[in-house]
């Protein structure tokens, strides 16, 4: 089950903790993978550790021309694009009273607008081939909200609404569009938290531990598979029971 041999996948934000695990998991199931992100060196390192069936196309998700180039180069490198994992995302946390327009705009631009642009660019080929898997990495805070993250939560909630709309537009063409919503996952981003902060978070997680990037990647592999053909417009929450929606 969940064999991805012969499939071509593009993962954005692949230099990050979760993105790297997703790329590794898709590759492990047999897919050819294009790694994208802003840190070319980290992408090349991941490419070297994965070996064959791996390409790198660095790109900025806040630059419309760069996004179009990414879609074109990924398709050219792999010959097609079957699976698009929109994982790239940034945070600019601040309480709303102090949040600057730039902080709001930047997060919306990268996390939501960039994802829409890349998905639109990838759609054409998927429609032609009557097959596609779009998996958007949203977040639990897109559903529950989180103080200090009005911008991030709005972008992540936006991804869910966008995915449901695209799912309805594209279902008849064999293209599914779904979200994966991680809870608190152990990554370099959460390493920065103090022990007290971690304790506070875990008090809200019935599983009583942080999740791992591999546990997120497993959800992505499922949604990317042929077996998940009848699942579309959904959000898969992987959060140790932190929110049950």
């Amino acid at each position: 089950m969940f064999d991805l041999s012969g499939k071509a996948a593009l993962v954005t934000g692949a230099s990050g903790g979760i993105g790297g695990a997703i790329a590794r998991a898709l590759h492990g199931q047999g897919a050819t993978v294009t790694l994208s992100g802003t840190r070319a060196e980290a992408l090349e390192q991941l490419k070297a550790s994965l070996g064959e069936r791996t390409h790198v196309v660095a790109a900025r998700m806040d630059d419309a021309a760069d996004i179009d180039r990414l879609a074109k180069e990924a398709e050219a490198a792999m010959g097609k694009l079957d699976i698009l994992v929109n994982n790239a995302g940034i945070t600019r946390d601040n309480i709303s009273m102090r949040m600057k327009d730039e902080e709001w705009d930047k997060v919306l631009q990268v996390n939501l607008t960039g994802t829409f642009r890349l998905t639109r660019a990838a759609m054409r080929g998927m429609m032609k081939r009557r097959f596609g898997r779009v998996i958007n990495i949203t977040s639990i805070v897109g559903v529950t909200g989180n103080p200090g993250q009005a911008n991030y939560a709005a972008a992540k909630a936006g991804l869910i609404g966008m995915s449901k709309s695209l799912a309805q537009e594209l279902a008849s063409r064999g293209i599914t569009v779904n979200c994966v919503a991680p809870g608190f996952i152990a990554t370099p981003m959460t390493d920065g938290l103090t022990d007290d902060q971690k304790k506070g978070i875990l008090g809200r997680v019935p599983a009583d531990r942080l999740g791992t990037p591999d546990e997120i990647a497993a959800g992505v592999v499922y949604l990317a598979s042929d077996e998940a053909a009848y699942v579309t417009g959904q959000t898969l929450h992987i959060n140790g029971g932190m929110a049950m929606i």
């Binding site: 054409r124 429609m127 032609k128 537009e169 594209l170 008849s172 063409r173």
Partner: protein, 79 residues
């Protein structure tokens, strides 16, 4: 140039699964031939490929009938 009309009609027949007789020049893709909005996008993509042309979005919006498509392609096709 008449073969442009034939090629356009062939694409429409294949894509929308309609009878050749239905594909008249004044037939509207959506109202008469049962296309949905995604079908019209795909038809434009198919025309672009068949004739090696670019059909910009604002031009594509104006292509509502089989005749519109033939007309646009005749005045823009390279071959």
């Amino acid at each position: 140039m008449s073969d442009i009309a034939e090629r356009v009609k062939k694409i429409v027949v294949e894509h929308l699964g309609v009878e050749v007789a239905q594909v008249k020049e004044d037939a509207k893709f959506i109202d008469d031939l049962g296309a949905d909005s995604l079908d019209t996008v795909e038809l434009v993509m198919a025309f672009e490929e068949e004739f090696g042309i670019e059909i910009p979005d604002d031009a594509a919006e104006k292509i509502q009938t089989v005749g519109d498509a033939i007309g646009f392609i005749k005045s823009n096709a390279k071959s």
